[in-house]
Each structure stands twice: as C-alpha cells, then as structure tokens.
Symmetry: C2
Subunit: 314 residues, 2 copies
Amino acid sequence: MGVRDLGLPERLTPDPGLPDRVTIWEVGPRDGLQNESATVPVEVKLEFLDRLASAGLTTLETTSFVHPKWVPQLADAEDLLATLTRRDGVRYPVLVPNARGLDRAVDAGVTDIAVFASATESFARKNLNSTFDDQFAMFDPVVTRARDEGMAVRGYLSMCFGDPWEGAVAPDQVVAAGKRLLDAGCWQLSLGDTIGVATPGQVDRLVDAFAAEGVDVGALAVHFHDTYGQALSNTLAALRRGITTVDSSAGGLGGCPYAESATGNLATEDLVWMLDGLGIAHGADLDALVDTSVWMAGRLGKPSPSRVVAALSG
Amino acid sequence: MGVRDLGLPERLTPDPGLPDRVTIWEVGPRDGLQNESATVPVEVKLEFLDRLASAGLTTLETTSFVHPKWVPQLADAEDLLATLTRRDGVRYPVLVPNARGLDRAVDAGVTDIAVFASATESFARKNLNSTFDDQFAMFDPVVTRARDEGMAVRGYLSMCFGDPWEGAVAPDQVVAAGKRLLDAGCWQLSLGDTIGVATPGQVDRLVDAFAAEGVDVGALAVHFHDTYGQALSNTLAALRRGITTVDSSAGGLGGCPYAESATGNLATEDLVWMLDGLGIAHGADLDALVDTSVWMAGRLGKPSPSRVVAALSG
C-alpha cells in the first residue's frame, strides 16, 4: 500500500482565507523544455502535451517563437503547432518575443500568446538587448497588433523579486513595469521569480503594492522557481493574497538559466499535492501527472527534481 | 558575483503575524545521520557538531541511546559524548527510547534528553513494539526519573499528520497523545510529519486543536520532512500559528525510513533562507551552514538534497 491508496494527502475543506479554485498554468512544454539541455523530438512534445491534457490541465504553454538561435530546443514550433490536436476546453498559449514572432504566431493560427518584459534594467539588457524603458516601445505595438488579431495576450515580468546582477528589486519598479504590460492590453500579468530567491514576505509586499496602485489582484499570476526551495511557500503566500493562477512545470522541468542550480520551475506535482491537501480545486489528476513526468524523465535521461515525483516513483 | 554577495535573500522587517525569533532545533547529527545508509566515524561527527555550533546553531541533537542493533549509525554514542567539547550557550540533547537508554544517558552525564512516542497504533506497533496505550506506560517512568535527575525532557510525537499504514490521522488522537507526553513532564512537544505528507491546512488544524485543549502553543515545535516538498510551506503555516521552534537537519541529511523517497528532514539551509527573508532572527549563518553541508556531503559521498546547498555550491 502506498500513501496514495491510503487517501493521502488528506483533503481538507477549503480555508476561507484561500481561493476555492486555482488555475494551474502549465509551462513545462515551453519554459521547462527550453531550459533543458537535451532537445526533445517533436513527437515526444506532442505526446507530452497530450498526456498533460489527459491529466486534466487546461492551460498548456506549448512552445515559443523566440528565434531558434536563442532557443534551439523549441526550433520546431511551427511543426509542433501544425501537428498538434487541440482539445476543447484547453488553451495552448505560445511565447512571442517581438513583431517577427507575432508574424509566426499569426501564420500558425495561434490565438493565445504571451509576451515578456524585465522588471530590471540589467536583465532587459542581458535578455532583451534593450533598456528597461525601450522594451515597452518594442512590446506595445506587438500587444496592440495581437489584440487586433483577436488574440489573448498574457504578460510575463521577469526578475520581480531579485536580479542576479542587481540584487533585491524594489516593488515600485516592478509595479511600474507590470502596469505598462497591463495598460498595453495584457489580460494577465505573471510575476516571475526568475532566479528563485523570493521569500513569502516579498510576495505579500509585491501583491499589496500592485493592489495599492489599483491593479486587480485577479489579473495577477505567480511564476516561482524552486532554486532555493521557496517556491511552494511563496505560492501559499500568494494564495493567501488572493492570487488564483499559478505557473508550474510538470516534474519541475527546466533549469534556471541565471542561477547556479539545476532546479527550475515549481513542479506541478508538488503544487498539486498542496492544493489537494488544502481542498483547492484545480482539475488535475496527480497520479497521471506523476506518470507523465516519469515518462518524460526517461525521454530526457535524467530524474525529475520534483519531490512528489521522486517519492511516488521511487 | 553570487546572489549572496548581492544581499539576497532580501531581509524584510518582520511581519506582525509572525514571530520575531525562531529556535532552530538542529537534528542533523541524530535524526539525519541515523537515517543515512553510511556510518560516519566519530571524528567526523565531532567535527560536524563543532561546525554547526560555529555556524551559530544553539541546539544540536547530538546522538541517540536507541539500541545499536536498531541504529548502528549511532552505536558510538558513549564515545562521542565522552569526547565532545560542549560550548557555552549550546544544548546537546540526546534521544532516549526507554529505561535502559536513560541509564546510559545518566552515565554519560547528559542533561537534555528527548523521548518519542507514536500518534498512531500502527507505528507504535512497528517502531516501538508496543500498543498506542502501552507506550505511555513505558515512557512515563522514564520521563519521571529523568526529571528527578534534573534533566530537561523533550517529547517527540511521530505520524502526526499521516501514517503509512493508516492514512490520515485524526487531530483528536494526536492531541490526546501529545497531552500524555506533556502531562508526563515533557517541557516541549515536537509534532512530527514522519512521512512528509502534511499540507498547511493540517498544520493550522492541529495547532488549533492543541490550543482548544488548553495546550500552550509555546510548548509546541514542528518537525517536517520534505518527502513531498511540503516542509517549508508547512513551517510557514506553523509560524503563522505562533510556533517558534522548528526542527531541521543541516543539508537535509537523513532519508525517510517509511517512504519511498530519499528526501528526509527539512534542510536547515532552506529554512534559514526563508527565515532570513522574513526578517525572523535565528542566530545561524547561512554560508557557514552551506560550507558544513558541502563538507558533510563529501564525507557521505552523496550530494545534499537541500535546494539552497545545491544552488549555492553548484
């Protein structure tokens, strides 16, 4: 008998201070695979997406139109999207960095995209070859045109809690950058702890800072990396502040490009364990997710860093 | 430049809903090493204890008087205690299972002991070869005699949230067992999630259940395992409920004897990262702890499962 057969984690009735339901924004196929050193064949990606949808996830960030020179792992984006069987009730957003990426998204028939900006000057320069201010001049017309095309546009903001060249990041600066993305027309803003250094008090402070500037907390999502083991505590803090969309990656796929560790995104399974225990609905099946991550670990030739996957597949 | 040189994690001023100070009850030398497959020489244990004290930890659970047949890793308890140089301001508690263990503790000049009981019938039978009720008949005279000897006695309670044979554990049962240990004369009760299955709502519920039965929350400590990645979220919940003593193990030393995974105790470094970020005082030096865990990983011939150790030593 394993712990799952015994009904663990115990499912409590939801705490009134927490949401009843959370949307898991699964980023494994995109943010996960783009940060793995191995490149996975398109057939494996298609099976991965199919398995994740079968496991009950309803938002699958599918691939990226960043230039293949920068992300060779996702160079097959057009191929993948041409072959993908889309399921009813599942969203398949794609990352788009610029006008050229948007052209590719339009050609591929994509209806859901995400753009990304940096909360810091240093990362804007390193990742976008731009300045903090100029990045918005680049994104604004992309978001406008995407919306004219009828697309839903999500905004990612990187380095919202700490930056590997600047250290701590001031909440005012993050709020200013985030509002630019929302004002440009993004329907949701995902606050990224790109290097995984945040702690729960920072999450409280940042969400409060957005609320104080009139931003609807319902428009915010969180994107934590588990580099320093803090991702799930930070998620708990975010849920207590009213956040209802949480980014995670099946099996914790994806390294952390600007940190010393191989630990990447919050693992979807570790998130689901906590949500199940808290009685928060999310629609995903934990055992199916673990099976999928064990299968993908086999394709990648390395074990999943997810604690839950390790425990249930050991 | 690493993130530590940049002042990360950012230290916030303490949240009024959290304690200003936490006592880290370091269990690596005992709970950690007793669950590692390799047996470490007494000289290495002495250096480990010395390094942990130098890193600022003030409670070091040192060894165990469980019969060496059951815990061969700690068969050198007398040797270790005879050689150990005790520092002012540091406590060196020792685990004692029964009257024979107490004899050994008295002979070794130990002043601080811990006894352990099970919150469930199944684990009492498996771990103690007793019944749930009979275990207290065994402990009561041990605690009484230890106190007559002038010792401080801590009580550990295992399987407080889930049991590998019974599944979820009812809070009433845990409270009843915990009160027996406190009533017997234990000054502190450490609530153990021995198989790491707990989620934060269970922590809230259990602490509330103790408080409802008149137990001072200040007499409670928490002991989480990170088997399913929940240890730090559970700790955050416990801190919000007023708990101020947290058990952890340097480098996350120690497997989980009754779970499928190798991930053991909450890593002291992962805890310290969060406490530092929350502005909660604890007295330990993170970099010295990481150095110690890297050194110990070399002695054990396996990497530390702590996310912080992996990130800062990668």
